[in-house]
């Protein structure tokens, strides 16, 4: 466990393997909600929070429940259920403790239950930080940090996209490309420009 490893996790999950622009996870809200910056930010904040929490919980479950009992094949099933339950729990807690926060991103929480970015992050963590059924050193911290960074990458892409799309409202876009198609084309150019970070080394 060292600073460099964390830095490279940060760069690779925010820029190079950006959840949206390179791994294509969580695309549906990306095109659906990115029309308005406020909503986009609330959604990304919710996603970041849930991904980070889910990374921690799924890691614990995999390490202390599935592996010891040889149940690794139940990974997908258990993760989906755990994430769904976790989201429900977070929603309930927020509703009880902070109505303001709930009003700000409560509705997005329910949407996140089946957001592929969350499950994707959990599965990726397991794939990357477990070798031959053993956790690598510092695996838990890496997993949580990677989950958090994927959330940051999600936020970055969402915010940039919503800024651009707000501006596009005023543009004379060809009719066939309005909304969805253009959102993908912009994402494509964004993905091209993020390639500038390819091969980053310290």
């Amino acid at each position: 466990m060292n600073v460099q490893a964390f830095l490279s996790i940060f760069i690779s999950s925010v820029f190079i393997y950006n959840v949206i622009l390179s791994r294509f996870l969580g695309l549906c809200p990306f095109v659906a909600i990115s029309k308005n910056t406020k909503q986009a930010f609330a959604m990304s904040a919710a996603v970041t929070f849930v991904i980070t929490a889910a990374s921690a919980v799924t890691w614990l479950i995999y390490r202390f429940l599935l592996l010891p009992f040889n149940l690794a094949y139940l990974r997908t099933l258990s993760f989906v259920l755990v994430i769904a339950a976790l989201v429900q729990l977070i929603e309930m807690v927020i509703r009880k403790t902070s109505p303001v926060l709930y009003r700000a991103f409560g509705i997005y929480l329910t949407l996140i239950t089946t957001n592929c970015a969350v499950l994707g992050a959990a599965v990726l963590n397991i794939d990357m930080f477990f070798v031959n059924g053993k956790a690598v050193a510092g695996s838990f911290y890496y997993s949580v940090f990677q989950g958090f960074c994927m959330g940051l990458g999600y936020t970055l892409a969402m915010l940039i996209m919503s800024g651009i799309r707000e501006r596009l409202e005023l543009c004379n876009v060809p009719k066939a490309l309005k909304d969805f198609p253009l959102a993908f084309i912009i994402a494509s150019v964004l993905s091209l420009s993020f390639m500038g970070f390819n091969g980053f080394k310290f």
Partner: protein, 313 residues
């Protein structure tokens, strides 16, 4: 005479400026760098430039006929895109490459957003990064200056990145363009002449270029060498596409912030990203990526640097 006695609505004083006039002046201001490129790399550079321009104009015309918009190819903006794209290509590329790049620049970089004045990204740079990702083999082999044949050499920045020994080039050589590189980026002198024209005419302001170049230089001075504060900042300013990018591409009217504060943020952002990619990135040069990323952030910068409306809080 009669007309002069009639009072029309305000404004009463017009300046004889228009989009085509500005655009064609920008085209003129890029010509010195082009001539320098042709002198340094030979006629192949000229073909690349011509083909890129023709393809850009043709693509624009086809799109505007197809979408039944006003035909605006004569306003010179497609010509600029073609020229800038060509200036960002090595001189010895196969001749279909500038055509492919121009078509992509105009189609994906400009027309899908609705044409002139609506693009989010600088179209020429969109074309360049597309070519860079698609045919890296051609985009990274550079002709040797003044050899006029197929001899290739690494650019000084690429040599630096790969840790090769640099062939000795004086700062004067770099300033005049005696190095391998893209057609339009090598001759700093010619670029500065063009930039001076634009600055004098007031078509670009100094804020973005100055903050961009300064940030890159300072960052390079601090982090550019193994020891802190020992970086060769002048080498980095004179090499790569920094001068071309800072004066001609980071100053795109549409894809950059509106306010002075926003422009300074834009310039500093470009400078930081360029330096970061040059020092730690996988590519030797980061100017095009840096400008594109800041283009993407422009709507955001605009939103938070809006001028206060008089009388509001």
């Amino acid at each position: 005479m009669r007309n002069k006695l009639l009072v029309s609505g305000s404004p009463h004083i017009h300046k004889n400026e228009s989009v085509p006039r500005i655009m064609w002046t920008v085209v003129l201001s890029t010509i010195p760098a082009g001539i320098a490129g042709v002198i340094i790399f030979g006629l192949s550079a000229l073909w690349v430039i011509l083909l890129a321009v023709i393809a850009a104009v043709a693509t624009e015309a086809v799109f505007e006929v197809w979408t039944k918009n006003k035909i605006t190819v004569m306003d010179g903006s497609a010509v600029i895109t073609g020229i800038l794209l060509a200036y960002n290509l090595p001189p010895n590329v196969p001749l279909w490459l500038p055509i492919a790049g121009s078509v992509f620049s105009i189609a994906i970089g400009k027309q899908v957003f609705g044409g002139l004045g609506q693009n989010i990204f600088n179209p020429a740079l969109v074309g360049r990064v597309f070519l860079m990702a698609s045919w890296p083999k051609y985009m990274t082999s550079f002709a040797r200056p003044f050899s006029y044949d197929a001899v290739t050499s690494a650019t000084p920045l690429a040599a630096l990145k790969e840790g090769k020994v640099l062939e000795h080039l004086s700062y004067l050589d770099l300033f005049l363009g005696k190095r391998g590189g893209c057609i339009g980026e090598v001759c700093i002198l010619a670029l500065l002449i063009g930039a001076a024209v634009l600055l004098y005419k007031g078509y670009i302001s100094w804020h973005i270029p100055a903050s961009y170049i300064l940030t890159t230089a300072v960052f390079m001075y601090i982090f550019g060498a193994k020891q802190l504060f020992h970086g060769d900042w002048l080498f980095h300013v004179l090499n790569g596409g920094l001068i071309l990018g800072a004066f001609f591409m980071a100053t795109d009217y549409v894809a950059t912030p509106l306010t002075i504060k926003g422009q300074l943020i834009f310039g500093v952002g470009c400078g930081l990203l360029t330096a970061i990619i040059r020092i730690w990135g996988g590519y030797p040069e980061g100017v095009s990526y840096a400008i594109l990323m800041m283009n993407a952030a422009t709507p955001f910068i605009d939103r938070y640097t809006k001028n206060r409306i008089y009388g509001t809080k």
